[in-house]
Symmetry: C2
Subunit: 318 residues, 2 copies
């Protein structure tokens, strides 16, 4: 007997609320949620489509993880603390094994991030996953794209290009999705920079997450702030795993144009001493990769000399 929509929700997605601010969770027409005074609500949504955002043979646990991770990365990019998620699943069939894996990946990250799943929808259709996340931030401390000023230092967290290199490895058949390859793991199970985003709230002048490639995303940050930037290509943070396996040209290409890094790109007043910069506070490595200037474009330099770099970020409709 096929699994019905309501059994499916009951079995895989209805859990006792993990947060006391969930007044009513999965199972009614809508969720009822308690917002603390003095905090603004932060809301984001992202959709993943099979064959475009994840491979047909991707492990379901990585799809569940990724669907939540890309959304949490948006909250991190606002300096927000996550609270609740809604999940819309369009599925070709109610495949119990797939659902089990998906739910496992989704809830592992939800639990680690303090997020309660409070509602959603399941329909039959092509495999498309939409997640909406809700969180909080003190409005005056929110990390917007628009606050960068000439003279600010430009930073990025962690390392760039690993996820794109991991995807390339998978596409070449150079590793299975189940392998322990660190680049493949980075692609399948990216970690949103929630702690860093909250630490940067009220400190960084602007911030966003790197999801469509560093260069294209830096263009967006500059456009939103009405500024230009100089990006020092020698400073791009690259992981040992990436450097060991790829030529310097490939590494730079992955770092500048590869998607799905989910690092934070942010600006600090040049004279600031952000406590996380020392790397001693449990936050990821932070690397200064350039500076904000007046004007309206992005210049790249190598060894102090300007070089031409083509290409922008990923655009779904080009």
């Amino acid at each position: 007997m096929p699994l019905g929509e309501f059994d499916l929700i009951e079995r895989y997605f209805r859990r006792a609320p993990s947060r006391r601010d969930v007044l009513l969770g999965v199972g009614d027409d809508a969720a009822l949620l308690e917002v603390k005074p003095g905090r603004a609500l932060v809301a984001a949504t992202d959709t993943l489509v099979e064959g475009r955002h994840f491979l047909h043979r991707a492990p379901p646990s990585s799809i569940g993880h990724q669907a939540l991770a890309v959304n949490l990365s948006d909250l991190a990019a606002m300096g927000a603390e996550p609270a609740w998620a809604l999940l819309s699943l369009s599925l070709p069939q109610a495949d119990e094994r797939w659902l089990e894996g998906f739910a496992e990946g989704f809830f592992a990250l939800a639990d680690a991030s303090g997020v309660a799943l409070v509602g959603g929808d399941t329909v039959r259709g092509p495999l498309v996953v939409t997640v909406e996340v809700l969180g909080f931030v003190e409005p005056a401390r929110a990390l917007k794209r628009s606050g960068a000023r000439p003279g600010d230092a430009l930073y990025v967290s962690g390392s760039l290009g690993d996820s794109a290199a991991g995807l390339a490895t998978l596409l070449r058949g150079g590793a299975s999705a189940a392998s322990d390859d660190p680049l493949v793991r980075r692609h399948l199970f990216a970690q949103p920079r929630l702690a860093l985003g909250q630490a940067l709230a009220g400190v960084a002048t602007a911030g966003m997450d790197v999801s469509d490639g560093l260069l294209g995303d830096l263009h967006k940050l500059c456009a939103a702030s009405g500024v230009a930037a100089t990006l020092e290509l020698d400073a791009l943070p690259l992981s040992e795993a990436l450097l060991t396996r790829h030529s310097p040209e490939e590494c730079e290409n992955f770092a500048l144009h590869g998607g799905d890094d989910y690092e934070l790109l942010f600006t600090l007043p040049s004279d600031s001493a952000f406590p996380g910069e020392s790397g001693a506070s449990g936050l990821p490595r932070l690397t200064r990769i350039g500076r904000i200037t007046a004007g309206g474009s992005v210049r790249c330099t190598r060894g102090g000399t300007e070089v031409a770099v083509s290409g922008a970020g990923y655009d779904h409709f080009r």
Copy 2:
């Protein structure tokens, strides 16, 4: 030159915020929203898939309308006042004509309902539309499914079955989507019962919207409340348009099992005098269609005698 993702968002979905509580809308990593103290946040999401929730040849304005309407109906069913929406669009291509129609239908309903679009995502993929809506209600007044008690009177708003009959007409080729057929219009442009929902908040003991067919949805309300119900089939509110075009058996079938009515099903203490009952307050017609009893099932009566009615509501995976 193809329309890019960012042009697409700029051209069709970015507007000056229509509400002062939108601190930051479309264009950053997430929206920043101001919640009034003393009110709970109400959140719902629904997904529409081409060929399942709307016909391949449905006018894009009706898809835009419907994607928001089904979600607003969930807020109405909680007694909530809507505020904000997020929109995730998976599209096979950036068809400007389609987008124009879709945005027109979406924003016409958004404007009429006081809803601001504050964020979203556009990706390339099969045609799948997910909307999330956010609104408010005083928590103690929220209309839950779980509050019905034996002795309560059972009510439904408006008329039932029109939307399903309109869909049947379209599927038979009996009318084009552009026709003025009131049943077809009802299917394509259902109106969420927002004013009624807010009037019932704090008054009705339980409530939900009728989206998957009256009988199936009544089963869900009874299950959530731990009660049974007697449904008087003679009392089902049917429109003149429906009665004129269909046999009594067809009408009853559409009313009991047809989806997409988006009326409110609710319960009132039997001695209550709900001001809307007179129909004088600008609210839709309300019809008493039965009563809540002890037990755990739904009995149907015709002329005071119990009759057997088979079938439950629509389930996407059965």
